[in-house]
Amino acid sequence: MTVSYNFAYLDEQSKKMIRRAILKALAIPGFQVPFGGREMPLPYGWGTGGIQLTASVIGPDDQLKVIDQGSDDTVNAISIKHFFQKTAGIAITEDTETATLIQTRHRIPETPLKKGQILVFQVPIPEPLQFIEPKRPQTLKMHGYEEYGSMHVKLYEDIARFGRIATAFDYPVRVHHRYLMSPSPIPKYDNPKLHRSPAVLLFGAGREKRIYAIPPYTDVVSLDFEDYPFELEHWEGACAVCGSTQSFLDEIITDDNGTRVLICSDTEFCRKNAGSSQP
C-alpha cells in the first residue's frame, strides 16, 4: 500500500459527501441524487461513478469483487481491482458468495445475492426519460409528477418495428411503485434479480454526477404492455463450458467460418458450475 494516498484514494470529506448522497438515494428508492463527483484517475465511461461509490463504502475488512460484462478478468475489472489493492490494501475475491462488495458493469452475478452484500453498478446514462425528453428541467418535472406514460413509447416503437419488445438491456423499471429508473445497461435477463433483492443496490453515474439506489427487499417492476408482457430471453442450447441452461449466455464466434458457441457471461458461475457438474 502506497502511503501517499488516503485509504481508498478519496479524501474523507469527499467520502462523507458521497455517503450522504447514498443515504438520500436509499431513502428515496430510484430517485437520482446529484452529487459532487470527483475526478478519478481513469476516464469517464470506465466506471468513475461506480469507483467513487465503492471507495466511499469500502472498509478494510471488505472482500471486493469486480466484474465487467460478467467477467472477473477483463481489463476494466482487473484495473479497478488493482486500484483498490493499491489504495486500500483490500482483499480481492472472485467468489460471489464470500464477496461483501461487488462492483459491476453490465451484469448482476448469477449466484443469488445475500443480505449484507452491496452491489455497485457503473452507469453511463442515468436518466431513463432521456429518450423521450432530452431537457433535464422537463424530466425532473416528469419524475416529480409521475408523468411516466410516455416512457411506453419506446416499447411501442419496438413492437411496431420488430413485433416484440426488442429492448434487451437497460430495460426501464419502476422502483417501489414510484420512480422510473434505468437499471444501467444490464440485460433485461437480470431485471428480475433487482426485484426484492436482499442486497443493497447502488448506482453511480460519474459523468452525469448522479447516484441512485434500491434498498433491500424493494419492489422493482419492468414496464410492459398488457398484450405484450415482459419476457426473458431464451437460448437454443446450453453453455458450451459448463452446460448451464439457467444463466445468461454470450454468443462467441470461435473461428473464421463463423462457428458459434454459447458460453456463460458470468465466468465465476461458469467455473463453479463446471467444477460441480464434472466428477
Partner: protein, 263 residues
C-alpha cells in the same frame, strides 16, 4: 362556418385580466375572454402583438404575471394560475391539445407516426398495444394520412402531413379544446386548404373548441366563430368573425383588414 352553440352555454375556458411581463416589456396586458364548448376563437394581429404569449399562458407553458385562466373541469371551474402545478399539468395534459407552428416542435421526429399519436394515450394510462395501434390507425384516417404510413417517421412526411399528424396526436385523447399557434403558416395554399377542411370537420363532429392564433385573416374567417384583434399586447377589438372583417371599427382593425390582398 355555421357555429354550433346553445343559447347560454357555460364557458369552457375563461381568461380574466391576464397579464404577462417580460421584465419591462409587456407581452400581453389585461386580457379577458371566454370560450364556449364548440366555439372556435381566432386571435389575430401582427407579429409581436402578444398573440403567442397569450396562447402560451393559457397552455400553461408560460406563467402569467397576473390574472387567471379558469378551466371547466368535472370538479367545477379551476384557475390554472392558482392550483398547484401537478394539477395544472394534469388538466393541460388531459383536457387540452397544443398544435405548434413548426411540426418539429410538436412532434417527436425520431418516433414513428403511430408512436407520436400513441404517446398521449400512453401518458393517459393506456397499456394495451393493440388498442393504441387501433386508435392510431383510426386517427391517421381521420386526418387523411394513409394508415399504411403508421410506422414511418414524421421526418419523411410533407409539411402538411406533419401538421395533420400533430393534430391527430393531440386529439387522440379527446381533449375539449385545441390551442393552435399559426398552424397553417409555412404551408402552401392547397395544403393549407386541406388542413382547414380537416379542422372544420373535426370541430363539427367532435364539438371541439379551439383557440387559433393566426395572422391570416382568410384562415380566421373560414375557421373562427369569433375574433380578437390584438395590438401591442392588448385586445383592441372583438366580435363575430364577420363583424370584425366586414365592419371593423377600430383604426388598427381597419388597417389590418384593408391590408389583406384579395385574389
Amino acid at each position: 362556418m355555421t357555429p354550433v352553440a346553445d343559447l347560454n352555454p357555460p364557458p369552457l375556458l375563461k381568461v380574466a385580466h391576464l397579464c404577462k411581463f417580460f421584465g419591462r416589456h409587456m407581452g400581453c396586458h389585461d386580457i379577458s375572454f371566454e370560450v364556449c364548448p364548440g366555439e372556435v376563437i381566432g386571435v389575430v394581429g401582427e407579429s409581436g402583438s402578444g398573440k403567442s404569449t397569450l396562447l402560451n399562458c393559457i397552455a400553461g407553458r408560460i406563467r402569467p404575471s397576473n390574472g387567471s385562466v379558469w378551466f371547466r373541469t368535472p370538479d367545477g371551474m379551476e384557475d390554472l394560475c392558482r392550483c398547484d402545478e401537478a394539477r395544472m399539468r394534469r388538466i393541460i395534459r388531459t383536457r387540452t391539445g397544443y398544435v405548434t407552428q413548426h411540426a418539429s416542435q410538436g412532434l417527436k421526429m425520431h418516433i414513428s407516426a403511430g408512436g407520436n399519436i400513441g404517446e398521449k394515450l400512453m401518458a393517459a394510462g393506456t397499456r394495451h398495444y393493440g388498442k393504441i395501434r387501433e386508435a392510431a390507425l383510426m386517427w391517421l384516417d381521420k386526418v387523411e394520412i394513409d394508415p399504411g404510413r403508421i410506422d414511418d417517421l414524421p421526418s419523411t412526411f410533407s409539411g402538411g402531413m406533419q401538421q395533420r399528424l400533430q393534430i391527430a396526436a393531440n386529439l387522440v385523447t379527446a381533449p375539449e379544446i385545441l390551442l393552435m399557434d399559426e398552424p397553417t403558416s409555412g404551408l402552401d395554399v392547397s395544403v393549407q386548404a386541406r388542413l382547414i377542411d380537416v379542422l372544420r370537420k373535426l370541430v363539427f363532429s367532435l364539438n371541439l373548441s379551439m383557440i387559433l392564433v393566426t395572422h391570416d385573416l382568410a384562415v380566421a374567417r373560414l375557421l373562427c366563430h369569433r375574433l380578437y384583434v390584438m395590438k401591442q399586447g392588448e385586445i383592441v377589438e372583438s366580435g363575430l368573425s364577420d363583424q370584425i372583417l366586414d365592419d371593423p371599427r377600430k383604426p388598427y382593425t381597419q388597417l389590418l383588414v384593408s391590408s389583406v390582398l384579395k385574389p
